[in-house]
Symmetry: C3
Subunit: 286 residues, 3 copies
């Protein structure tokens, strides 16, 4: 309780909210770190979808204050995959989280990079006294509760990384394939990163990609079928039922539809590749 402010424990998983998994992990953090504020980022990541979890973390990262990020999307739990705690190489003006905790499967690096990169990384030593290869112990399957939560609590309390595991080469962390974007004159092709609750279709592309592709204001979006769309500054600039290309709140290009699901119109989901191209001037009147 005494001491300087330690910030918040930010918590993201694919546990869902129907089972008590997330609740038990919150309790496990508090056993080690009484008084720690715990903020759920989300527990709605699709089960085992490490890429979706990593993308949610990187979207959230710029908006987080000081503290520890505890992230668990961990299809390889119980194997010899490493468990990580990482500190962020921060410049003095940043005020985001100092530490990330989670499995070594690509979940963490994008968000850590967005905040300044990995300063130091350790492979966590199992709290069961052995290594994580010691997977034959009963209960080996809930590292969120038994390993990551106590480590997050200890980091919040002020433990140093080197008390928690053996230092490893930051370059050795597992990394996911970069999101796919490519541009030609008049068109860009981009991976769908995310379809949100409202059906907005976030693309891997950013405004600079639209500039590189010299996209006009009248567009076609090709996702199997071809759909007409317009570049608009905001949802509300769209006619009802029409598609628009906006810069979304994360600085990505997104295909949207005012008060409707663009994803349903386009019939796309995360991971799909779609093309956006300028309509030739002669066709605008169609």
């Amino acid at each position: 309780v005494a001491g300087r402010a330690r910030g918040t424990v930010f918590f993201l998983t694919d546990y869902g909210l129907v089972d008590e998994f997330a609740g038990v992990v919150r309790a496990a953090v508090l056993r080690v770190a009484p008084g720690a504020p715990i903020i759920d980022l989300t527990h709605g990541v699709t089960p085992f979808d490490v890429r979706a979890g990593a993308l949610a973390l990187v979207r959230a990262a710029p908006h987080l204050g000081p503290g520890v990020v505890l992230a668990v999307v961990d299809p390889e739990v119980g194997t010899s995959r490493r468990a990580l705690a990482v500190s962020v190489a921060r410049t003095t003006e940043t005020e985001g989280p100092q530490h990330f905790v989670g499995p070594d499967n690509g979940l963490l690096p994008w968000a850590v990079d967005a905040l300044g990169g990995v300063e130091c990384a350790v492979a966590l030593t199992s709290p069961r006294g052995g290594t994580l290869d010691d997977a034959s112990a009963p209960g080996a399957t809930f590292d969120g509760r038994d390993l990551f939560a106590p480590v997050a609590g200890r980091l919040w309390q002020g433990s140093s990384l080197t008390e928690l595991g053996a230092e490893i080469d930051p370059g050795s962390l597992v990394r996911l394939a970069d999101p796919r974007v490519s541009t030609t004159s008049g068109a860009l092709a981009a991976e769908v990163l995310w379809v949100d609750r409202f059906g907005n279709v976030q693309l891997a592309a950013r405004p600079a990609d639209a500039d590189a592709a010299v996209l006009g204001m009248e567009l076609e979006v090709i996702a199997g079928a071809v759909h007409r769309a317009q570049r608009v500054p905001t949802f509300a600039a769209l006619e009802p039922g029409t598609l628009g290309l906006v810069v979304d709140a994360n600085g990505h290009l997104a295909v949207v539809c005012d008060r409707q699901s663009a994803a349903t119109v386009l019939q796309v989901r995360a991971g799909d590749l779609i093309t956006v191209r300028s309509v030739a001037p002669g066709c605008v009147s169609r």
Copy 2:
């Protein structure tokens, strides 16, 4: 951190809990107001359903302690709709929230009225330095994170309304149409306000409306088809599978069914109009 207790930030949206929206907004509140307790009222409001959000707020309002209500159901985000912070005209004996923050679309006024009415209202100045009409900025579409959360945090910290925007006429706030209720001798017609998880059907009518309609104990509920029902003091007084009219925990009349969904029996949803009428004495034996 020092100073008097500032109460709680009560948080309601239509963001759902699958995406990280609500999590990022919680983090954004804490960046401005470290240490603020944040209580989720719900994030399960049907997307864009301002009326459902307003009704949830007004049901919750009498049970909230001191603090700030942050509510975002905002289909017009990015347009020139105003963004509000409002203080509550409270009598000395009340101890509820002092401030409400959210869009000017009818979401807030019912709950504010239930606590004493609007004392002062301001139209928020955009944190982007311009006004909210300045919607062409990238990222203009997440006011929950970029505008409402920081404002809620600053109010929790003790900022005054006039630091946050320009005072406006409380009478100019957008208001939703009143819920529909009408009574005749022997019958009442009322809007369905809410179907809850358990299938209970909350009506806009209150016990005084039942009195005005001189409703008896044996009833018919008309929602397309005609259903028999009884006035009962509690769920448990119902025979299995039968419908009852109760006074619910918000002081509204509600059509319920013990351990079953009355909404499924009646085939109704929020916004429907249903009629409840006394059964003529000669028909009671049917």
Copy 3:
């Protein structure tokens, strides 16, 4: 605010997260106990499923720190069923919750037993001044908000049980039927306790039951159809698409399938009875 640390309010219900029920109860706790940290264990218990709620509580119990457990799965709300507050008979070395609050329908005792048993139990006096039989009062149907939350808050504040109700015989608490397990040489039959988000099928049986049944490494799981399975130390030891019998993170036997839903493969759900038996050596090669 002053005084010793009071721990956490751990909160479990079948309210779901779409309606504002859980949010209003959190607010009601804070009105009585400003500053209390509230941790949601889950609100995703199947509506009215007391057994599922009791099982979630007993799974969570060993991982909770000091504080008060507030649990509400209460199909008989509004009847004369008793409302309880219970203290835990703890040995000095344990550090879990001191108190449990909830309905007297079997929801609490398993978890209390897991922590040391009931030390003292009281039947709560209604905050409406009467007894809980006084169900004719308007709003009698939300005891979570109006009775259990304030009681949990008062216990967190330091109230004694006897301030809150009349002491009752701990032996009189309603208890659920024990989960079903039976063993013979070469086979065990066990109730499915829980199917989690990942489709893992937790059985009432524990490793000692497998020992008693002298289960081998090659198994058949009988749930209507007969399925081959292997005893494995961890998910990752399974071939893709094959079933395994593991000791899960709660110390129960569970039928699992690597990155697939074992429940879907077996077509089972909570409450079903399944049999696990050794394959005769002559059949292993099949």
